[in-house]
C-alpha cells in the first residue's frame, strides 16, 4: 500500500497521457505485487463461499469489478466535497447503491445465478477490497486513476476467484461452467464426453472429491496460491 501512495503522487501541472506507464501500473499492480487476495488477504469471505462453481464466480467477479471501479470513480469525483467526519457513510451510500443496481440487474438477467450467489452479491457492500480502495486510493486521487485502480483491484480479486473456482469445480464436481450456457462435465462418472466415448472414457474413473466442495478446500487452495505467489515473487517476502 505504501509504495502505491508514493508512486501515485498526483502531478497536476503536466498533462498526462490517458494510458501512461503509471496508469498501466494501476491495473497490473493488483494482479501481482498488490493482489487483494493473496497479498493483502482481503475479500476472503466471499472468495471462500462463492467459488464452488466457476460460472457464479465469474458473475461475482464481474460484479465486484463493476462496483469497485464505479465506486472509486464516484468517490474520487466527490472527494473534495466529502467532509472528513462522514466520509465512510458517504462511501457506503455509493457502494450500497451500486451493489443494489448489480443485484437488481442480475435478478432480471440471470435469475438462477442470482439465486446461487444469494446473499453474497449483497455482501459486496462489506467487501473489504471495495472500501479499502476507496479509503486508500480514491479519496486522494483523480477520478480516472481511481477508476483504473478499481478495475485493477476487481480484476486481481476476480482472477483469484476464477482460479480457485476452476480447481474446486473440476475436482469437486467433475464439471466446468455448470449452470452456464456451455456446461462441460469433464471427469468422473457423470462425464458426458464431448468426443468419442471410447477414446477418453478412462476419465470416468475419477470419483468427485467432496472436500473440494466444502469451504475449507478454498482455504487450502488460497493458502497454496499465497505460498506459490510468494515463492515466485521474491518482492513479497520482504514486505512482511
Amino acid at each position: 500500500m505504501a509504495e502505491i501512495a508514493e508512486v501515485q503522487k498526483p502531478e497536476i501541472k503536466k498533462r498526462e497521457p490517458l494510458f501512461g506507464p503509471k496508469e498501466r501500473k494501476l491495473i497490473t499492480d493488483p494482479l501481482n505485487d498488490n493482489n487483494p487476495i493473496t497479498v493483502q488477504v482481503l475479500g476472503i469471505c466471499s472468495a471462500l463461499a462463492v467459488t464452488t462453481l466457476v460460472w457464479p464466480s465469474f458473475i461475482m467477479a464481474i460484479a465486484v469489478i463493476f462496483v469497485c471501479a464505479f465506486s472509486s470513480l464516484f468517490t474520487s469525483l466527490l472527494r473534495n466535497r466529502i467532509p472528513k467526519q462522514v466520509r465512510m457513510i458517504v462511501q457506503l451510500v455509493i457502494i450500497a447503491t451500486l451493489v443494489t443496481v448489480v443485484d437488481l440487474t442480475l435478478r432480471a438477467v440471470d435469475y438462477d445465478v442470482s439465486r446461487q450467489l444469494a446473499v453474497f452479491i449483497g455482501l459486496i457492500i462489506t467487501n473489504c477490497i471495495v472500501m479499502g480502495r476507496l479509503e486508500a486510493f480514491a479519496m486522494a486521487n483523480r477520478p480516472w486513476r481511481s477508476f483504473l485502480d478499481g478495475i485493477g483491484n476487481g480484476l486481481g480479486y476476480g482472477g483469484i476467484l476464477l482460479a480457485v473456482a476452476l480447481i474446486r469445480e473440476l475436482f469437486g464436481k467433475g464439471s466446468l461452467f455448470a449452470g452456464s450456457p456451455i456446461e462441460w462435465k469433464i471427469i468422473g462418472p457423470s462425464a458426458d464426453y464431448m468426443l468419442d466415448t471410447e477414446a477418453i472414457s478412462w476419465l470416468g474413473w475419477y470419483q468427485n472429491n467432496n472436500l473440494m466442495v466444502l469451504s475449507c478446500a478454498a482455504m487450502f487452495i488460497i493458502g497454496i496460491f499465497i505460498w506459490i505467489h510468494r515463492t515466485w515473487n521474491p518482492k513479497l517476502v520482504d514486505v512482511s
Partner: protein, 230 residues
C-alpha cells in the same frame, strides 16, 4: 446525493419489477417440474421459459385446498406461499396442489416446507394416482452447506432415491418416507442419508412427515370420490 441515489434505485426497481416477477415464477415452476422430470421429454433445467409456461398452461391444473382437504375456488396454487401459511393458525392454512395430466395418468405434486440445519428447506413431492407411490421429488434450501446439506438440491441422485417409495403402508397407515443415516433399511419407506448432512437429512424426514400429512384429508376425499364414481 441521497435524492439522486433514491431516484436511480426507485426507477430501476420499478422498471425491472415485471421481469423479476416473471423470472421468479419461472424459477418456481421449473423447480416443480423437476419433481416430475421422468414424465417430461427433456430435463427440467434445459427447458426454455416458454416451454415451462406451455406445460403449465396445458398440462397442469392448479388447486388450492384448505386444511380439511376441501377445494377453494378462485385461487391459484402458485399464489400460495407455504412460508406464510406456516405462520397462520392451522385452521386457516391453505395448501397448493398441482395436478399434472400426463399420458400415463395423473400425478399430484404436493409442496412441503421445513427447516434444515441453517435455514428453511422446501420441496415438491410428486405422487402417482394411487396416492402412495412417489413419482419424483425435488428439494431446495435457503442456506445449507455446499457439499453437505446442499446436496439435497445439487445432487440429483439424492432426490432420485425417492422415486418408487411409498408414503403409506399396504394396510393404509401413513408412514411417509424417512431419510436414514447410515443407509436405508426399509426399501419401501426409507432412503439413504447424505454423509455429513445428518441434520439436513432429519429435517427432510420431518418436513416430509408433517408436510405430506397436511394433504391427507385431500387424498382421502379424492380417493372416496374416485370410488363413488367407479
Amino acid at each position: 446525493m441521497t435524492t439522486v441515489v433514491a431516484l436511480v434505485l426507485a426507477l430501476l426497481a420499478t422498471g425491472l419489477k415485471d421481469i423479476h416477477e416473471r423470472n421468479e415464477a419461472i424459477y418456481n415452476k421449473k423447480a416443480l417440474l423437476t419433481a416430475i422430470e421422468s414424465y417430461l421429454e427433456n430435463p427440467a433445467k434445459d427447458l426454455e421459459d416458454e416451454e415451462v409456461i406451455n406445460i403449465f398452461d396445458q398440462q397442469v391444473q392448479q388447486i388450492v385446498i384448505d386444511h380439511q382437504g376441501n377445494q377453494i375456488e378462485g385461487v391459484l396454487a402458485e399464489d400460495i406461499e407455504l412460508a406464510k401459511e406456516k405462520d397462520k393458525p392451522e385452521a386457516e392454512r391453505q395448501y397448493p396442489v398441482y395436478v399434472f395430466n400426463s399420458p400415463k395418468g395423473k400425478v399430484y405434486i404436493f409442496s412441503v416446507r421445513g427447516s434444515g440445519l441453517w435455514d428453511a428447506i422446501w420441496g415438491s413431492i410428486a405422487i402417482e394416482d394411487d396416492f402412495s407411490t412417489i413419482a419424483g421429488a425435488a428439494f431446495d434450501h435457503a442456506g445449507e452447506t455446499p457439499g453437505l446439506g446442499a446436496e439435497i438440491k445439487d445432487n440429483p441422485s439424492f432426490s432420485a432415491q425417492f422415486v418408487g417409495k411409498k408414503i403409506y403402508e399396504d394396510d393404509g397407515e401413513y408412514v411417509s418416507v424417512t431419510v436414514r443415516k447410515g443407509g436405508a433399511k426399509d426399501p419401501e419407506h426409507e432412503v439413504d442419508g447424505i454423509s455429513g448432512a445428518t441434520v439436513t437429512g432429519d429435517g427432510v424426514s420431518k418436513m416430509l412427515y408433517s408436510g405430506l400429512k397436511n394433504y391427507e384429508p385431500y387424498i382421502e376425499s379424492v380417493q372416496s370420490s374416485n370410488k363413488t364414481s367407479n
